[in-house]
Symmetry: C3
Subunit: 425 residues, 3 copies
Amino acid sequence: MDTQSVGLEIYQLIENLYPICRSITGDGFRGTMQILQGYIPIQLHEVPTGTEVFDWIVPKEWNIRDAYVKDSKGKKVIDFQKSNLHILNYSVPFNGRVKLAELKEHLFSIPDHEDWIPYRASYYKENWGFCISHKVLESLEDEEYEVCIDSSLEDGHLTYGEYLIKGEIEDEFLISCHCCHPSLCNDNLSGIGVATFLAKHLSQKRLRYTYRFLFIPGTIGSITWLSLNEDNVSKIRHGLVIACVGDPGKMHYKRTRRGDAEIDKAVAHVLKNSGDEYEIMDFSPYGYDERQYSSPGFNLAVGNLSRTPHGRFPQYHTSADNLDFVKANSLADSFTKYVEVINVIDNNKKYLNTSPKGEPQLGRRGLYSTTGGRIDASHMAILWVLNLSDGQYSLLDIAEISGVDFRSIQIAAEALLECGLLVDV
Amino acid sequence: MDTQSVGLEIYQLIENLYPICRSITGDGFRGTMQILQGYIPIQLHEVPTGTEVFDWIVPKEWNIRDAYVKDSKGKKVIDFQKSNLHILNYSVPFNGRVKLAELKEHLFSIPDHEDWIPYRASYYKENWGFCISHKVLESLEDEEYEVCIDSSLEDGHLTYGEYLIKGEIEDEFLISCHCCHPSLCNDNLSGIGVATFLAKHLSQKRLRYTYRFLFIPGTIGSITWLSLNEDNVSKIRHGLVIACVGDPGKMHYKRTRRGDAEIDKAVAHVLKNSGDEYEIMDFSPYGYDERQYSSPGFNLAVGNLSRTPHGRFPQYHTSADNLDFVKANSLADSFTKYVEVINVIDNNKKYLNTSPKGEPQLGRRGLYSTTGGRIDASHMAILWVLNLSDGQYSLLDIAEISGVDFRSIQIAAEALLECGLLVDV
Amino acid sequence: MDTQSVGLEIYQLIENLYPICRSITGDGFRGTMQILQGYIPIQLHEVPTGTEVFDWIVPKEWNIRDAYVKDSKGKKVIDFQKSNLHILNYSVPFNGRVKLAELKEHLFSIPDHEDWIPYRASYYKENWGFCISHKVLESLEDEEYEVCIDSSLEDGHLTYGEYLIKGEIEDEFLISCHCCHPSLCNDNLSGIGVATFLAKHLSQKRLRYTYRFLFIPGTIGSITWLSLNEDNVSKIRHGLVIACVGDPGKMHYKRTRRGDAEIDKAVAHVLKNSGDEYEIMDFSPYGYDERQYSSPGFNLAVGNLSRTPHGRFPQYHTSADNLDFVKANSLADSFTKYVEVINVIDNNKKYLNTSPKGEPQLGRRGLYSTTGGRIDASHMAILWVLNLSDGQYSLLDIAEISGVDFRSIQIAAEALLECGLLVDV
């Protein structure tokens, strides 16, 4: 697999998705799923407005065609066609003339970054509004403006995409990404892109676990999925929420609520052995959809593996989170690390040494290799796997205890399996 | 509560108690209790001499009226009326004339601090003696002296005080202080003073635990109390021994013998979040009455929260531990920290999130608060309490895991209880 | 015990053993055992060639009388009589004339240390060869050489020595050393020497544990012993593999596979309290016979206490590991530390405080000792032993928790046992 070219392909997908005005419901979300279906056979689900999902109710479906604000000379001072960030996401329809003072109650800007447009939404409180650069806000004259928001907020559906790749066992590895943001690249297009190519990659491999990819609107999407799939949630053994994986920052991993789940150990091992800088953070109940998967009624082993986390880069939820901010090589690197983590989890089994009393004689099996009187690394890996394969330690445990990287431990185990010195537990 | 004025009131109580010559038995101890009864309704217990208390026997009661040493010219070179520290505590009666050499076998001084009078006692080995400054000792001429010790050591009683403040449950929080030292301020008047005002403060509050205050002579007092109350000792869930809480030093906490009791966690949390310097030490079997409460036959969860610990300040057990050494603002600060610790313990309950699957929709309950697109601290506290209220974690656990202070977690829990999102376990 | 003279005696034993050409079988090994029998009554075992021992087969017995290489002028350029390291250990018999190029395929040297002869063996792959200094290798002219190896590799026996010192209980402490190396002093004569004198020392003491000393060939010896004694292996409660204890380096301890066995704690305590530098390393499956004792089918609590570990000193497995490299005072120091560790393990019992409620009154038992108003160290040790002797903590646990050295804790326990305040669990 040429990860460099994967990085470029993910970037191209992000470019295609960038112009679409997504929200937690509506045609922007559907159109996004249709583009992804060009890569992987995502199954779409439509959940009707009003469906009760735990403590929540699926909201009305929102769609928007156009929106603008014209000044007294008829000039569009704010134009949805120029950036879909301009509209307060989930704005109700509105047509009317308002004075500047009233208009300002519906305008959002970022005084600290006067050229950037913020991203704001009002899903559960009916409102209308516009997001604009602070520079434009400051330039508005004290006159009357014509406001037009050609949107609809009506009974409809919440849409989400799902793709299941079956492995040897029914136990699942969940990869979940939110797809509800409009023209924002790192959060959330990078996650969508890497998830799509991971799914494509895994669909061509022989896998132990079953992999479930969810492409959902944030919060309401994961709550809806959990509510509709409550009976099957217990199959999820490991999971990662993917977002913010395209920026140039170092990798960050937020542990699962459990704190010491297998996925926590696998990610820590991969990051530690990557040679790159990284940071591991404890779970907190704020963030992306791991909040829902980690609610106390589920407590799933779902972590969040990203580059710079949400809120820690100034471009977060602004027009500056654009196609310049995400990089093909960052996407490639994130993709590679996800592949490594999945390799660890998928191969992290426990084996039994079939010759556990004393060391077996490796020489007559061609497994004794020394270089100039010194033991070499592959032989050391073999000794570790033999010594710790007592049914208690998994290959990842052995890698961590020995300080040997998982891939080397995996190769040693394969050699020992081949000559019968190791068997499945 | 105005803690600054509490500090002054405690200081005034210490001033009143200072002149009394206390010991482990006798009228000095009784007089001390009578003064405290002006503040709180302490119940007095009188245990007869000869009562067997575990491995010990309640000793004879000691009382003293006067004591002096006169030189050949009839001048009092040592005078009990000037400082009750001059008498070796528990000195047997003595009248006679002795040469300097013999007298010196009964004199105690501190060569390193030539102006200070040491405090010494001889409870279990009959002896007489005087404690004097080294300067006076050095000035004594080689002549005959008249020694008079007008004391009595006779069958009588050991006195101790007890005050029980009933709470919702019978489980108890024990606060114990020794009251057997004569004119010494930090050890032990500061402990008596802060304990008295804590008791007064708690008697006006609605409490979950029952609070038991013990005002006892050191060692023999706690052993006597444990022996007479053996059947009820198991009610004690938490405890603190209070002493040395008036000096200007930082707070020190000596952990319980268990090392990870709830009281250990509560004190550590309060000190960590106080913003002040502090030190936490492991249990050791030397110190105050926590030695007895922590004997292996009881192993109670009793720690020792003080300012500078016994033996670590040079004034310890000398006349320099006087009214200048303790400070009203140190007493106020110690009082405040004890109040905080008690607040943590008394409110440290486990709750259940009634909407544990996914997050509940906080917006429609008025609990969703953000400031300028950023989550605020009180909302974060609410998310933590919801996420961790699965029956496993107490509010203190949640405070520690989240890094949020206990008071904020407590406020979040109260808001959630009010809207029904939390219930008692 | 005068440990300094013990160091000299061990050194003399090493001098006697140095010239012998040992291997994993044969008369060199037997001759070594005979010398040791002059010190301790070692029992010899002879295991026939072909005996199946777990995954291995006892090999043919190897003996050697002479070996040399002569140049075309008849001069011996390599001569076994000058150093038994010259022969590739386990070389098959060979007589013939070979060209330099062919000869070189059978020569081993160390380019980095051109004066040193390496030590090499070929036990399980039939081969012949010579080990020489790189300087000699370089000087060989391109001519024909006469090679003579007067050895035998025939059915015979594997020999090992065993010495059991019975204690009060059948539970065993194993001390194992390999004895299969020719003229090499630190690895392995220092281990043989210290083990012999430890056995001699212990045979004169009253012991709780039974001590088993094994003098065996490396790898095949421990595997053979384990195979023949499989039913009794469970008696081994603690063990140490001894090797490399004569060099001037600091002590190193390699933990047991369990990592927190009593022997691990005992060694750590002794090294920490020794005042000398030391290093503690986690278990790894490479090293000496702890590899076999720690194989997953046995997982015995056997550590490895040495000075500089194998492979970490440049002289390792070369002619420079000679009588100059080991020092009498290093041997004495190693001996002393083994004695201390054995004292800890042999006396590390749990006791019960017979007066567990409150402190017992130590004064009337003569156990209350203070110096100038301050508690002294021996009294503190008594308080610790009383407080923690609840049946849960051993004396070593008490030493570790209190920070008091084991010998002081042991003395306190003996005093308390004597006056009845402590009893055996």
